[in-house]
C-alpha cells in the first residue's frame, strides 16, 4: 500500500469508504499528527518531500503555501480560504474523477491539513457538475467527518460548477465563486495576497491535496523515495486514445511512456505509435523517440513539452493527426471565456482552418497563417490568460511533427 499511497486503498468498484472503514485503514491519523505540528512545520515537511502541484503547472506546493499570511497578519477582516480544484476538464484527464469518487476521505484529510498549513479558515471543494458521483461522495464524507468532530474549526463545503473549462483556471475559479462570469484575473496580485473576496486564498488540485496526508504519514524521505526523479511521490498517470486498455496507473514519478503504454495494453489501431501528448490536450506532441523519457514536470519541460495533468493521449499510425488537432482546437475555441480578442477570435479561426485541412481542402496561405498564429501566441503570447497559449502548444508542435500530413491535405491545386 505504501508503494501506492493514492490508490492502494481504493476498491475496484470505486465504492468510497465509510468513515469507520477509512479509519480502520489508518485514515485521519495524518490529521491527528498535523494537529501536533505548527503550520510552518507542515510546510517544511511538504517542501522536503518535493511535492509539486498536480493541476498542471507543477509549482512546488510548499512554496505556494508559504505565501499565505499568518492569522491576523493580513490587512482587513475576514477569513482566509483554501480551494480544492476539482474542475477537471482538460482533454484526456480523468484522474481527479477517480480520487473524488473512490477516495473522498483522502481529499478531506488533505484539505484539513492544507488548511492548517495555510492558515485557512474555510475550504471549498469545487467540482464540475458532470461529476455527480464525486460530488455526492465528497459531500457525504464531509458530513461524516463533521459529525465525528474531525474538522475542528474548519468550515468546508462543496461547490458544484456548471460547465465551462475556464472555471478550472485558478483566478477564474475565484471569480466564479464570487458569482461572476468566470473570467481570469491578472496576477499579481496572487491569490495568496488577494483571492476570494479579496482575502488570502490558496488553490490546489485534487491530486495535490490527496497526496498531502501521505507526506505526513510516510515522512518526507520515504515520500520522496517513491519517485524515480527529483520530484517527490507517486503520480496518478493515465493513458487514453489509441491504446487497448485505457486507464489510470499510479506509478513512481518519472515513469516512462513506454511503461505506461505497455500497462495500457499497448497501442491499438495499426499498433504503431505515431505520437503522444504527455500531459493532456494542451501539451506539445512527443514522438516514439521520447518513449523512454522519465515523465515528470522537469524532464518533460526540458524536452520541449509540458507535463500538465500527466495524462497521456496516444495516436497510432492510422489516426489522422490533423483531424485530432482540429478536435482539440474546437474545444479550446468553444471554452474561451471571450474576454480577450486574440483568444475569442483567433481560436475559432484556427479551428475552422484545421477542419478544412482535415477534409483535404487546405490552402497554402492558411498553413502559413496557422504557423504564424502558433508562433506568435505560443507559449504565452498576447492573450490575457494561458488558455490560448496552452492551445497553441500542440498546434505549434503538431505543425512541425505532422508537416507531411498537412502537406498531403492541401487542396488539389495548392499542392504543387
Amino acid at each position: 500500500m505504501t508503494d501506492l499511497p493514492l490508490t492502494g486503498r481504493a476498491r475496484p468498484d470505486r465504492r468510497p469508504h465509510t468513515l469507520a472503514e477509512w479509519r480502520a485503514e489508518g485514515g485521519y491519523e495524518a490529521v491527528e499528527r498535523a494537529r501536533t505540528m505548527t503550520p510552518s512545520e507542515i510546510i517544511d515537511m511538504v517542501e522536503a518531500a518535493h511535492l509539486n502541484g498536480r493541476g498542471g503547472a507543477g509549482f512546488p506546493a510548499g512554496r505556494k503555501w508559504r505565501f499565505m499570511p499568518e492569522r491576523g497578519t493580513s490587512p482587513g477582516d475576514g477569513p482566509s480560504y483554501l480551494i480544492v480544484n476539482g474542475d477537471e476538464m482538460e482533454p484526456g484527464a480523468f484522474k481527479d474523477r477517480f480520487l473524488l469518487e473512490a477516495m473522498p476521505h483522502q481529499v478531506i484529510e488533505g484539505a484539513i491539513i492544507t488548511a492548517r498549513a495555510t492558515h485557512a479558515d474555510e475550504a471549498i471543494v469545487l467540482i464540475r457538475d458532470e461529476y455527480r458521483p464525486g460530488i455526492a461522495a465528497v459531500e457525504h464524507a464531509i458530513h461524516e467527518a463533521r459529525t465525528a468532530g474531525l474538522l475542528g474549526d474548519l468550515t468546508i463545503r462543496v461547490h458544484p460548477s456548471a460547465g465551462r473549462y475556464i472555471v478550472g483556471e485558478e483566478t477564474a475559479l475565484i471569480t466564479a465563486l464570487e458569482g461572476h462570469r468566470a473570467v481570469p484575473r491578472k496576477r499579481p496580485p496572487f491569490p495568496a495576497q488577494s483571492g476570494l473576496w479579496g482575502r488570502p486564498t490558496t488553490v490546489n488540485n485534487v491530486e495535490t491535496i490527496s497526496l498531502v496526508p501521505h507526506i505526513l504519514s510516510l515522512g518526507p524521505q520515504r515520500f520522496r523515495a517513491l519517485s524515480r526523479t527529483e520530484e517527490g511521490g507517486t503520480k496518478l498517470y493515465g493513458v487514453s486514445g489509441r491504446v487497448k486498455r485505457p486507464g489510470l496507473f499510479e506509478a513512481p514519478m518519472g515513469t516512462t511512456a513506454r511503461e505506461l503504454i505497455e500497462r495500457a495494453g499497448g497501442v491499438s489501431g495499426d499498433g504503431q505509435l505515431r505520437a503522444f501528448q504527455p500531459g493532456g490536450g494542451a501539451s506539445g506532441f512527443f514522438g516514439p523517440d521520447q518513449l523512454d523519457l522519465p515523465l515528470d514536470f522537469g524532464h518533460v519541460a526540458r524536452a520541449g513539452s509540458m507535463f500538465g495533468t500527466g495524462m497521456l493521449i496516444v495516436l497510432d499510425g492510422s489516426a489522422c493527426p490533423v483531424g485530432f488537432l482540429a478536435r482539440h482546437m474546437r474545444f479550446y475555441a468553444r471554452e474561451s471565456c471571450g474576454w480577450c480578442t486574440p483568444c475569442r477570435e483567433g481560436l475559432p479561426l484556427v479551428a475552422k482552418i484545421l477542419d478544412r485541412f482535415a477534409e483535404g481542402r487546405g490552402r497554402r496561405a492558411d498553413l502559413e497563417l496557422l504557423q504564424m498564429t502558433a508562433a506568435e501566441a505560443a507559449p504565452r503570447g498576447r492573450s490575457f490568460c494561458d488558455l490560448m497559449g496552452g492551445a497553441m502548444a500542440p498546434l505549434a508542435s503538431g505543425l512541425r511533427m505532422f508537416a507531411a500530413e498537412f502537406e498531403a491535405r492541401l487542396a488539389e491545386g495548392e499542392r504543387a
Binding site: 474523477r97 458532470e130 460548477s161 487514453s240 495524462m311 493521449i313
Partner: protein, 157 residues
C-alpha cells in the same frame, strides 16, 4: 407557473451558504433547473428578486454556463463527449447514429420532448471512450458504439 414557496426559501437560504446573494446566483439557477428542467425568463426574474440581485447580472451568469439550460430540454439530456480521446475511439459514428435514430441534430430536442442531444467537453471518461453522460443524475456511459445506441436510448426512458 411561479416558483414554489419552498424553492424560493431554498434560494434565499443559498445566499447564506454561499457567501451572499451574488455568489448564490449559480446555486439558485441550479435549484430552478433541478425542479423544472430548465430556467425560463420568468423563473430567473423571480429568483433574482428573491435574492435581491440585478436580473441582468443573473442572466449574464446563466448564459455563461453551458449546463444551465435557458430553453426547454427533453426529459433525458444526452451529453456526448466531443473530446479528442473519444474522437479517436469512434465518437463520430456514435454521434451519427444518435442523430439518425432520434431524427434530430445536436442542440435539438425530439418532437415528443423525450430527448435532447448536446455536445460536451471531455467528460473525464476517456478510459471509457467514447463516453457520454445521460439524464438528470448525469450517469456516465461508455464505451459507446453505434450498435449500442439503441440500448442506451431504451435505458434512458
Amino acid at each position: 407557473m411561479s416558483l414554489s414557496p419552498d424553492l424560493l426559501a431554498r434560494i434565499r437560504a443559498a445566499s447564506d451558504e454561499h457567501g451572499g446573494p451574488r455568489a448564490a446566483m449559480l446555486e439558485a439557477l441550479k435549484l430552478i433547473q433541478h425542479e423544472h428542467g430548465w430556467v425560463s425568463d420568468g423563473h430567473l426574474a423571480e429568483a433574482a428578486s428573491a435574492l435581491g440581485v440585478n436580473r441582468a447580472e443573473m442572466e449574464a451568469l446563466a448564459s455563461f454556463y453551458s449546463l444551465i439550460f435557458r430553453h426547454p430540454v427533453g426529459k433525458t439530456v444526452i451529453l456526448l463527449c466531443d473530446g479528442a480521446s473519444c474522437w479517436l475511439n469512434g465518437a463520430e459514428e456514435v454521434r451519427e447514429e444518435l442523430k439518425r435514430r432520434l431524427g434530430i441534430g445536436f442542440g435539438e430536442t425530439t418532437r415528443d420532448g423525450r430527448y435532447t442531444l448536446l455536445n460536451v467537453a471531455c467528460l473525464g471518461g476517456c478510459d471509457r471512450a467514447p463516453a457520454a453522460v445521460v439524464g438528470r443524475d448525469r450517469r456516465l456511459v461508455g464505451p459507446l458504439s453505434p450498435a449500442g445506441v439503441a440500448a442506451l436510448l431504451e435505458d434512458g426512458l
